[in-house]
Amino acid sequence: MNQSVTLPHIQQQPLQLDALLAQTERPDCGALAIFAGAVRNHHEGAAVSHLIYTAHPALCNKIIAAIEQETREQFNVPECRIVHRIGELQIGEVAIVVVVRAPHRAEAFAALRYAVDSTKHRAPIWKEEFYPDGSSSFVAGCCIADGFEPPDHLKLLPKKENT
């Protein structure tokens, strides 16, 4: 499963921040906000040896693309890029990188938080933790079934009407 996946938003290979920065460079943006999520060596008091991320590649790529677009529209930021890694990751390796560029820092920070949290809450990605004794478990996640409401700060704002 998930072998050799390389899509714009989901990839098996280590994430490259430099490439994302080069792809999003803009002269009209004075703010660059970056989030990188790395694999931690503990979770809820238990030592963690490594993780395996799996994803529904096509659906995940589509949903992350939609989150990017929503982020750009909702926060009026010209650039938002999200890339998530899948496969086996060791402690310290980067699992997700989100880059936002905006004219000013306030909208860059807000957009970055929305993009990161929306990806965690909506993208069909699953994290399996492995422990030093060789056992493992899937991390309890966010339900994406109909009827389960997202946190308030991830609800979309009403579209602004053109005046």
Partner: protein, 84 residues
């Protein structure tokens, strides 16, 4: 004779562990909906407890329980997500 559709159920995340397989093939009556496939999966005692928290997709489209299934569809079972 009643017409049947072949539906491949694709399990993701913990549902693959609970189902003991990454996929399972069902024969459902023509006109069956996602809810009919889920009803079939509920017969699996190991899997049934997780199903109320699952979402569903056909191909790369999220679908509801009333979505009609076509012969050859791949129905993904999507448990709660934990990326990031």
């Amino acid at each position: 004779m009643e017409s049947m559709n072949t539906i491949t159920i694709r399990f993701w995340g913990i549902t693959a562990r609970l189902a003991g397989a990454e996929q399972r093939v069902l024969q459902l009556s023509a006109g069956a909906r996602v809810a009919d496939a889920v009803e079939h999966l509920r017969l699996d005692a190991t899997l049934s407890g997780e199903l109320p928290r699952c979402a569903y997709a056909v191909g790369d489209d999220m679908v509801g329980l009333d979505h009609p299934l076509a012969d050859g569809d791949e129905l993904s079972v999507l448990p709660p997500v934990s990326g990031g």
